[in-house]
Symmetry: C2
Subunit: 200 residues, 2 copies
């Protein structure tokens, strides 16, 4: 029998991926489920639907509500939250770093910190200095990791990962695969983890 796993697909620009990332590691460990971190880019997914930016931008009322809802959800879970002054933020560099090190022991902390930069500290994340500082804090060789993240191989791997997700039916984030079963949205996180745990 294999260990139960859930694939967690996310974009560092995705607001609802912030509370999801803050919780997934703990909730997965409680169930003995391993998280496979799958950074991706929502941009190409949304452009395929004919949208620029986020689908929330299609409906101003929905977009306004999203911020209210996120503040409410974060308050309920005692998560810090600040509405970002830029949305959506480019997430290219942290996505490349996370993709290249998705099995590293520090991946959960790295992803959590990047989301906090975006949605708590209201800071740019597609930023060499910010990523350099964060990787240094995690005790990693920042220069080396950033250079590698910007290599043609990693750039191409991120494009391919996004295409692979789309081929499997992914249309937004946060999303979860348990085998081929797709779960979508922060509110389906525990459904996905339960499905992974029961499938053991």
């Amino acid at each position: 029998m294999n260990d139960p796993v859930v694939e967690y697909w996310f974009d560092f620009a995705s607001p609802y991926s912030y509370p999801c990332t803050a919780h997934i590691d703990t909730l997965a460990r409680l169930r003995g489920v391993r998280v496979l971190w799958r950074p991706m880019l929502l941009g190409p997914i949304f452009r395929a639907a004919g949208w620029q930016g986020s689908p929330f931008l299609q409906q101003p009322a929905r977009f306004a509500w999203m911020w209210t809802d996120l503040a409410r959800q974060c308050a309920r879970h005692a998560l810090p939250w600040r509405k970002p002054s830029t949305f959506p933020r480019s997430s290219l560099l942290p996505a490349r770093i996370a993709l290249a090190h998705c099995d590293a022991p520090w991946i959960a902390v790295f992803c959590t910190r990047v989301f906090e930069l975006n949605f708590v500290q209201d800071a740019d994340i597609d930023d060499v200095a910010a990523m350099h500082r964060l990787l240094g804090e995690l005790g990693q060789p920042a220069d080396e990791l950033i250079a590698h993240a910007q290599s043609p191989e990693v750039k191409q791997a991120l494009r391919a990962q996004t295409e692979y997700g789309a081929q499997r039916g992914l249309f937004g984030a946060p999303s979860f695969f348990v085998g081929d079963a797709l779960y979508w949205g922060n509110e389906q996180l525990e459904d996905a983890l339960d499905a992974a745990a029961y499938a053991r």
Copy 2:
């Protein structure tokens, strides 16, 4: 102190409003919350965003997933479910009937049955014969109620209700207002009911 209330805004064409309608009456009564039934039409809301039909239709992958997800959610709650052969169905006549009788003692049962027609029996709902049969089963004077539902006053009232919802920030269904606070989606039903109960 007033009784706690939740405004439940829905469209009989909305798939996620089906499980929501099946549960709201019981879950509200458990909390001592009164449901104010607010039928509306999503068509004008979605057309304002430049969409024809449902926003799910914008992304084929999302649309395909929606049916999978609904089947999964209904199975989890032991609700019967059949994927409708027509989507979205016109919901005009039952919406007009429900609007004109939103305070009737039979409103919850009427709405539940209309959703079952659409999403269990795969039957047209914008249909005089189907509505006649249903109202008769509920012991109501069907001819009279249907004639009234088709009056210019009721037609205009449904347009006005939809516009009023949009003015208050409504962008999809199922939606819930607790005072001015908007909750959206079947998965926020209990959040909305809890907020109404706690606000007492």
